[in-house]
Amino acid sequence: MQQTNEWIFIGIFFAICWVFPAAPVIMAQLLQPKRPNKVKQETYECGIETIGPSWVQFKVQYYMYALVFLVFDIETVFLFPFAVAFNQVTLFAVFELVVFILLLGVALVYAWRKGALEWA
C-alpha cells in the first residue's frame, strides 16, 4: 500500500540520519589531541571547587508547568481527529467542540488563579 511505502522511507531515513552527526564526531575523535589531566576534567563551577552533589533538587514549579502542559497536550490529542474530520461534521458538533475548549479554558483559569503558572 502506498502508505506503507511512506513509512518505510521514514524507517530508512531514521536508520541513515544517525550517520550525519556520528561521522563528524568520529572524525573528531580521530583528529583531536587527547591529553586528559585531572584539572581539565573537573566539573565547572565558575572556577571554584564544587560545593555539594551535582544532582540538585528539582524545583516543584517545573512540575506544575509539566502538569498544566499535560492537560493541554491531552486536549490537543483529542482535537486532532476533530480537525481532520472537520469538513464532514455539522455545525452542532462545532458547538460541542467549543464547549470542550471552554471547559479546558476553565481549567487554565483555575490553574492561573491558584498560582500554578507563577515562576516564583
Binding site: 502508505q3 511505502n5 511512506e6 513509512w7 522511507f9 521514514i10 530508512i12 531515513f13 541513515i16 540520519c17 544517525w18 550525519f20 552527526p21 556520528a22 563528524p24 564526531v25 573528531a28 575523535q29 583528529l31 583531536q32 589531541p33 587527547k34 591529553r35 586528559p36 581539565k40 576534567q41 566539573t43 565547572y44 563551577e45 565558575c46 551535582s54 540538585v56 514549579q61 517545573y62 508547568y65 509539566a66 498544566v68 502542559f69 497536550d73 490537543t76 482535537l79 486532532f80 480537525a83 481532520v84 472537520f86 469538513n87 461534521v89 462545532v94 458547538f95 467542540l97 467549543v98 475548549i101 471552554l102 479554558g105 487554565l108 492561573w112 503558572l117 507563577e118 515562576w119 516564583a120
Partner: protein
C-alpha cells in the same frame, strides 16, 4: 526511476529500496548543505545589522568561514568531565541533530518531490521535533554539573510550555485543509493561509521561535547569563553538533511556516506537471523559506532577550488563551462559511459574461473560498485589535502598580520608609 531500474533487470523490491535510499540521501543533503551556506548568511547579516562587515577573510566574501569553523571544531580536544554519565553525555548531541533532520522527511519540496507523504505529516513533525527537547535534558543531566542541570530544567519547562500554542495554531491549517498530510495542506492553499488567519501564523511563528531557543527567547543558551546552560561541559565537535542542530532547526521552522501558512511550493508555474514545474515549486519554497529565515535573523538581531518568568507568562497568560479563542472563532466561522466546491463548479460551468471572466481569472477554487477567507480575516483582525487593547490596558495598570510601589504617595511629601514590596 523505479521503472528504469526494473527495466535494467533489477528486481522490483531492490529497485524500490535503492530509490528510497537515494531519496533519503537527497532530502537530508539539502538540509546539511543549507547548514554550511546558512551559517555564513547568518554571520554576514548579523554583522551588517551591527554596522560591521562579518567574515570576509576566509575565501571570497568569507564564504569558506563555515569550513574553517568545522576544521577548528574537529581539532579541539573533547573534554569529558569526571563523573559524567558516559553514554548519555555522548548520545545527547547525536539525538539533537537527528531530531531536526528527521523533520525533513515530510517536507513537500514540490508537487512530486516529497520524501514521505504520510497522512499524519503534521503530527509527525510535532512529535519528532520534541525529541530535541529530550536531548537537552539528557545533555544537562549527563554533564554532572549543577549549572547544566538547572539550565536544562529551565529549558525543558520553557520548551514544553511553548508546545501548547504551537500545536493549537497548527490545528488551524489542518481544519482549513481537512487533512494532516503536509502535501495536502499545501495543495489546499488556493489562498495562502497567512492571508486568511494571520494571527495564527504569527502565533505559530512565535512559538516556534521559542521552541528552537532563538532570540528573543535564547536564555536557553545565553552565554552571558547562565554560562551556556546545558552545554557547559561540551567541547569540540559535540558542541558543534548542538550548534548545527539549533541552526538547522531555525531554518526548518522557516520552511514549516512557509508550508503551513505561505503556500509551500505554490507559486506561478509551480503546478505544471513535469520536472520544470517541480523545480519551480522547489525554487518558490526556497524563496519563501529564506525570506522567513531573514525575518528570524532580523528578530534575533534587534529584539532584546526576554526574562524566563516573562517568557512563561507570555506563553500561559497570553498565547494559550489567545490560541484557544482563535481556535473557537476559526472553527465556528469555517463551518458557517464552509466552501461548496461542487456547487461553485456548477455555477462556473453555467456562468456568462463578467462572471465567466471572474472564474477564468481567479479560478473556481479561489472564488469558492472567498467568503470564508474574508470572514476569517476580519475575525482575526478584530481579535488582534481586541487583544492589543486588553494588553495595553493591562500594561498601564501594571505600570501604575509598579510606580506606586517604587514611589508611594506620602503625606506632606516626607520620605517614609516603605514596607517590603508585595511579591510580584
Amino acid at each position: 526511476m523505479i521503472d528504469f531500474l526494473v527495466s535494467q533487470g533489477w528486481s522490483k523490491d531492490v529497485a524500490t529500496g535503492v530509490a528510497l535510499l537515494l531519496g533519503v540521501i537527497a532530502v537530508s543533503s539539502f538540509g546539511l548543505v543549507w547548514v554550511i551556506f546558512g551559517i555564513w548568511l547568518e554571520r554576514k547579516f548579523a554583522g551588517r545589522v551591527q554596522d560591521r562587515l562579518g567574515p570576509n577573510r576566509t575565501g571570497p566574501f568569507g564564504l569558506f568561514q563555515t569550513f574553517a569553523d568545522l576544521g577548528k571544531l574537529l581539532t579541539k580536544e573533547d573534554i569529558t568531565p569526571e563523573g559524567a554519565d558516559k553514554f548519555i553525555f555522548n548520545f545527547a548531541p547525536l539525538l539533537s541533530v537527528v531530531a531536526v533532520i528527521l523533520i525533513w522527511a515530510v517536507v513537500p519540496f514540490s508537487k512530486e518531490w516529497i520524501g514521505a507523504d504520510v497522512n499524519v505529516g503534521v503530527l509527525y513533525f510535532t512529535a519528532v521535533g520534541s525529541l530535541g527537547t529530550l536531548s537537552i535534558l539528557l545533555a544537562g543531566w549527563g554533564s554532572n554539573n549543577k549549572y547544566a542541570l538547572l539550565g536544562a530544567f529551565r529549558v525543558i519547562a520553557a520548551l514544553i510550555s511553548y508546545e501548547v500554542p504551537m500545536i493549537l495554531s497548527i490545528l488551524i491549517p489542518v481544519i482549513l485543509a481537512g487533512t494532516m498530510s503536509m502535501q495536502g495542506i499545501v495543495e489546499a492553499q488556493h489562498i495562502w493561509y497567512v492571508f486568511i488567519v494571520p494571527v495564527t501564523a504569527v502565533m505559530f511563528f512565535t512559538s516556534s521561535l521559542a521552541e528552537i531557543g532563538r532570540s528573543p527567547f535564547d536564555l536557553i543558551e545565553a552565554e552571558s547569563e547562565i554560562v551556556a546552560g546545558f552545554n557547559i561541559e561540551y567541547s569540540g565537535m559535540k558542541f558543534g553538533m548542538f550548534f548545527a542542530a539549533e541552526f538547522l532547526h531555525a531554518f526548518t521552522i522557516s520552511v514549516l511556516t512557509a508550508i503551513l501558512f505561505f503556500g509551500g511550493w505554490r507559486g506561478i508555474g509551480a503546478s505544471v506537471a513535469g520536472a520544470g514545474g517541480d523545480a519551480l515549486g522547489f525554487v518558490w519554497l526556497f524563496i519563501k523559506s529564506v525570506g522567513l529565515y531573514l525575518l528570524v535573523m532580523l528578530i534575533r538581531n534587534t529584539v532584546p532577550r526576554i526574562r524566563i518568568d516573562h517568557m512563561m507568562s507570555l506563553n500561559w497568560k497570553i498565547l494559550v488563551p489567545l490560541s484557544l479563542v482563535n481556535l473557537i472563532m476559526v472553527a465556528i466561522l469555517a463551518k458557517v462559511f464552509q466552501p461548496d466546491y461542487a456547487g461553485q463548479f456548477q455555477i462556473a460551468a453555467n456562468a456568462t459574461g463578467l462572471g465567466a471572466l471572474l472564474y477564468q481569472f481567479f479560478g473556481v477554487n479561489i472564488v469558492a473560498e472567498l467568503p470564508r477567507a474574508i470572514a476569517l480575516l476580519i475575525a482575526n483582525l478584530l481579535l488582534w485589535v481586541v487583544v492589543s487593547a486588553v494588553l495595553h490596558r493591562f500594561a498601564i495598570l501594571d505600570r501604575r502598580r509598579v510606580q506606586d510601589w517604587v514611589e508611594p504617595a506620602t503625606v506632606a511629601g516626607e520620605h517614609t520608609a516603605s514596607a517590603p514590596a508585595p511579591g510580584r
